[in-house]
């Protein structure tokens, strides 16, 4: 049994038990869950499990934490290695999420959205909390929204009436959609339309691989693998920091917020743990007070959308700054190696 669990198992009363539980979850489990979400799904949440740009990421974080709370409350003695266990729980949550996705339907939905953009006779529009679609003439007329239940059982009749003898997969999507709207007679929710078309076009989803097929290791406190593309040594890390400090502020900030090393550690962690800088050096180098640094650090490494939001800019601008920063770093680091 893992020594990390001793304080929970030896707790004398409910208050001690809760304190031990909080410590296990906040200090040990949370960072692992964040890392697994990042590495498996590219989902970024801050230290509190919050993401301003991705609600799925928040839900999955909460899901993993809830599972950990459950097992720690009910039977923690089943856990031999706590951190490995957390890694597996988080990984299972990721696999469950992937299994719930329908990539082929998602592609169909993208194609439909494009059809509505490009065809003047067809449209999609926001109505209360839904996205509706239909003939353009129905937009904002208050025409009754047709429920999926009214139509689902009649789709075979639609096929035989409107497309008898035709291979629907060879028919342009815009034509199928136009005929379907005329047949239905009213607007539908976009997701309902996707479901109907998936049935008509016989779109089947591929099975996502199960977790059991590949053991997912949390590379948290362990060794760091390097690849042909990677650059090693603390000396180089120090050189990198000197170059980063000299970048134009926007490039510098974009690089700093987005950076992660091969093990998923953010820039501040990398530099501080390597002894390359102290906290006040970081603050000075980034032109920010130490207190603000702590706020940023708790969200790092950031995904592109979050970083763009933090820097109050567009994704395109962020990409531009990152491209320039990376090019400059590559040139300067190569020049001195």
């Amino acid at each position: 049994m893992d020594n990390l669990l001793l304080s929970l198992l030896n707790a004398q009363d409910e208050q001690e038990r809760q304190q031990a539980l909080d410590e296990l979850l906040i200090i040990h489990a949370a960072p692992i869950i964040r890392q697994v979400l990042r590495q498996r799904l590219g989902f970024y949440v801050n230290a509190q499990g919050v993401s301003k740009t991705n609600h799925d990421a928040e839900d999955l974080y909460q899901d993993a934490m809830t599972r950990m709370i459950q097992v720690l409350r009910e039977d923690p003695t089943t856990i031999d290695d706590f951190e490995r266990y957390v890694g597996r729980v988080a990984s299972n949550v990721c696999t469950g999420f992937l299994r719930s996705k329908y990539p082929r339907r998602a592609r169909l939905k993208n194609a439909l959205r494009d059809v509505f953009r490009r065809h003047r006779d067809l449209a999609s529009w926001q109505y209360q909390n839904e996205i509706l679609c239909g003939l353009a003439a129905w937009r904002n007329t208050g025409k009754r929204v047709v429920s999926g239940y009214d139509v689902d059982t009649k789709l075979d009749a639609f096929l035989s009436t409107r497309f008898a003898g035709e291979d629907l997969r060879a028919v342009p999507l815009s034509r199928i959609v136009a005929e379907l709207f005329e047949w239905i007679g009213g607007p539908v929710e976009l997701d309902v339309l996707v479901r109907m078309l998936a049935y008509l076009l016989d779109i089947k989803e591929q099975r996502i691989e199960s977790l059991e097929d590949h053991e997912y290791e949390v590379n948290f406190r362990g060794s760091i693998r390097s690849t042909e593309l990677d650059v090693e040594t603390n000396e180089l890390l120090g050189r990198m920091w000197r170059v980063v400090k000299r970048l134009p502020p926007k490039q510098r900030d974009a690089f700093a917020l987005r950076f992660q090393d091969s093990a998923g550690r953010d820039l501040f962690t990398a530099l501080l743990a390597a002894g390359v800088v102290e906290l006040k050096d970081l603050a000075e180098g980034l032109g920010r007070p130490v207190a603000d640094l702590a706020r940023l650090w708790s969200q790092m490494p950031m995904d592109s959308e979050t970083a763009a939001g933090e820097l109050n800019t567009s994704l395109n601008n962020l990409y531009k700054w990152l491209s320039r920063a990376r090019r400059r770093l590559k040139a300067e680091l190569r020049g001195k190696s």
Binding site: A106, A111, D114, T227, A270, S304, Y319
Partner: protein, 121 residues
């Protein structure tokens, strides 16, 4: 904050498990107190590892999680992406099979629909 930080505070600081005000106060103290800074770095190394770090500047690594959104798919199909965004997307597509299939599917639907619309005219 004039006293030194406890081990628990430093542990929690390393994983940002402190309320916002306390996080800021601890950060300021750590920056100003050599002894606490030293203990903080020790704790950070314990938590996050202290071996040599490796990093990559390759765009395939940097943008591996930047999955294409609908607007980017449209701009790609319309050839309206600015050069930097195009570079990022190309790098991402080199590593992401799902997005490659998304692009392939989107372009195929668009091509079939455009062909049909042109034929109707």
């Amino acid at each position: 904050m004039t006293h030194h930080l406890s081990t628990s505070q430093l542990e929690r600081f390393c994983v940002f498990a402190l309320a916002e005000d306390e996080l800021r106060a601890v950060a300021v103290h750590v920056a100003d107190c050599p002894s606490c800074h030293h203990r903080f770095v020790e704790e950070l190394r314990r938590k996050k590892g202290s071996g040599p770090f490796t990093f990559s500047l390759a765009p395939e690594f940097w943008f591996r999680h930047d999955h294409l959104n609908f607007d980017q798919l449209v701009d790609l199909a319309d050839e309206k992406l600015d050069p930097c965004t195009r570079e990022v997307i190309d790098a991402h597509l080199r590593t992401c099979e799902t997005c490659r299939e998304d692009v392939h599917s989107f372009l195929a639907y668009r091509k079939a629909d455009t062909r049909a619309t042109t034929a109707d005219m």
